[in-house]
Structures are given as structure tokens and as C-alpha cells.
Symmetry: C2
Subunit: 201 residues, 2 copies
């Protein structure tokens, strides 16, 4: 409610931008290394090579820093595949998710960011937006498939895409089942079967 502008909003160029980039990169490193509970703003400052005070002033809390990192990541969305065959597109998507989650750095980073979202409402909003962007990008595979007649009309494209990722994240977070290419292909096949059966609307 205060009308005091955020630090960095008035003169966002030059040094300020360099500091933000360095801090976000350091935050990713520290999150991947130590997890969200180990996201110490002092250490982020040290790794980024900027003043400790700066990080506390501009981000203020681990949750806010994680949220800013998520916003930055959402802006770098990768294009989806377009095989003209929804089965192959969904399998591509599932394999991409598995590769991301099993990558040593990315996998730990995603776990840490989900932990951040569970601990901080600001990070939670940023995470929801991040996944909204990702899902929206891939939903095109499904809407295209409906137009081609591969899937029943009325199919909810976003839900089909979410259904591909869901069992992979469930394995990562809840059961600890191994995440490999076979798991990816099963997830894609299950989502496709459900979509074909017309239960995703």
C-alpha cells in the first residue's frame, strides 16, 4: 500500500540489470546446491559477487527471490514440438520433463522451487504462472490434434498436457519411483489413452 517504488524500478539499466542477472544466477546455483531451506541471502550475495545489503534490500526474503527467479524462467519458454501426431508430441513432452527433472542441476532446482512455492505465497503464485506458461505452450499439440480428428472434440487441451506431467512429478515428489524414458513413455501413453477415451474435458 505504500507508494515507495521497489528498488531497481526507476533505474533498471546498467549496473542494476547486471546485479539482478548475477543474483538470479547465483540463486539458481544455491537452490540447486542447498535446496530452498538452504537459500541464504548472504550466501547468494557472496556467490553473485554483490553486496549482502543489496540482496536483502531488493528481494528481502528467500521466497521473493525464488519468485523472481521463476518469473525469469517463465520468460524463457522453449517452443513445443510439432510432429503432426499427438502421440509423438506428448511423448516428446514427457521425455523433456523427465530429462529436465533428472538433470543434476535442473532437477534439484525444480525440487527447490516447488519447496519454495510450498513455503511462500509469492513463490507459489510465480510457480503457478510458470506452469501455466509451460502448459499453454504445449496445449497447442492437443488442440491441433482435435482439429485433425485424432482426439474427440471438447477435449481439454491443458488438462491433457497436465496429465502427461502429473505422474512424473508424483514419482519425483511422492513415491520416489525412478524417472526414466520408460516412465515418460508410460505417462504419455496414459494421457493419450484417457484423451482418446474422451474423459478429459
Amino acid at each position: 500500500m505504500s507508494d515507495a517504488v521497489q528498488p531497481g524500478a526507476v533505474r533498471p539499466g546498467g549496473r542494476t540489470a547486471r546485479v539482478r542477472a548475477a543474483v538470479l544466477r547465483a540463486a539458481g546455483d544455491v537452490l540447486a546446491e542447498n535446496g530452498f531451506h538452504g537459500l541464504d541471502l548472504g550466501e547468494v550475495a557472496r556467490v553473485a559477487g554483490v553486496g549482502r545489503t543489496t540482496v536483502y534490500r531488493r528481494w528481502g526474503s528467500p521466497g521473493a527471490l525464488a519468485a523472481d527467479l521463476l518469473q525469469d524462467m517463465a520468460e524463457r519458454s522453449l517452443p513445443r514440438s510439432r510432429h503432426g501426431d499427438v502421440g509423438r508430441d506428448l511423448r516428446d513432452n514427457a521425455r523433456l520433463v523427465v530429462r529436465t527433472l533428472t538433470d543434476p542441476r535442473q532437477g534439484r532446482l525444480f525440487k527447490a522451487l516447488i519447496a519454495a512455492a510450498l513455503c511462500d505465497e509469492q513463490a507459489a503464485r510465480a510457480l503457478r504462472r510458470f506452469y501455466a506458461v509451460r502448459v499453454e505452450e504445449w496445449a497447442g499439440c492437443v488442440t491441433d490434434a482435435v482439429e485433425r480428428g485424432e482426439l474427440p472434440p471438447g477435449t481439454d487441451a491443458r488438462r491433457v498436457i497436465a496429465a502427461v506431467s502429473a505422474p512424473l512429478y508424483y514419482a519425483l515428489l511422492n513415491t520416489g519411483e525412478p524417472l526414466d524414458e520408460a516412465a515418460a513413455d508410460r505417462a504419455a501413453a496414459a494421457a493419450l489413452a484417457a484423451a482418446r477415451a474422451g474423459v478429459v474435458r
Copy 2:
């Protein structure tokens, strides 16, 4: 590697048991109220009405306390439903998950425990065991259905049960989609469609 026994292992009766019960209940309250990042052992001691030193000595860290709570919860597994119709059984399971996750206290508690698992390896192991117990209990619905001929032979029962929960947790943790009875029924229907199509093995 030290052969010093854990505090509470030699004389686990009477006062020690009362302290553990009080601390685990307080830990659940604090986790549901403040989330894992707010699980302060000093506050747990205050809420439980026991000495601060006791909590630090017996549990030592928020992660270990969360792990002990999860072990306690795993031992109180509820029996699954047995309708003789796998569609109804899966829908029951999905609705139970949704009811749990949308319950004001339970929902926050589960979120906090997943955050704990993401921040602490000990809690992660306890969470995997917790879900292994839950999934195993309900897997019987699927093996029974295979025997009745409702589902193809070779269907992986545990994966079908996991497939029911997965989209619900994905909605809770990643996308923030609303969790209601319709979401539960969609999740059950999608898992059933995939199982019937024979893609869950």
C-alpha cells in the same frame, strides 16, 4: 556409527511416550499453521508443553521431526473401499485424496510434509514409505479387478493407484487448479481409461 542409543529408546514408556505423542501432535499443528519453513522446534516444545531442550535432543532438526510424524501417520493407514467395481473404488480413492487435500488442516499439513521431504533426505525417505503404504493398501482394488476380468492381465496395480492421485497432487503443487469432486472424478476416470487401454504395466 556411534553406538550411543537414541534418547527415548531405553525407557520408551510412561513420560517418554507422552512427550512423543504431545510433540508429534504439536508438530502437526505447527506444520499446518506455519508450513515447514516455520517449523521452529522451540515453538513445537511450547505448544506441546514440554521442555525446549527435550525436543532438540530427541529430534534435533525440523526434518527429523517431520520424518517421525510421517512414520506415525503411515502406521495409521485407513482401509480401502471394496465395491467389487474398480471404477467406483478408484473414484472413492480420488475423492478421499481430494477431501484430504482440501481439508483446512490436512491440506496444509500435507503441503508442509512434502516441503519437508524436499528439504531433508530423512523426511523424503519417510514420505516415500508413507505413500508406499497408502498405495499398497489401495492397489488391492486393481488386482481384484484384474482377477474379475475388469482390467487386462499384467496391469500394474500400484501405478494405476498412483495415476489416480498424480493429477490431484499436480493441481495442488504445480498448477493451482481447483481441487473439487469433479477433479477427483476426472482423475479416477482418466486412470481407469488408461488401465483399460492396457498402457499401465
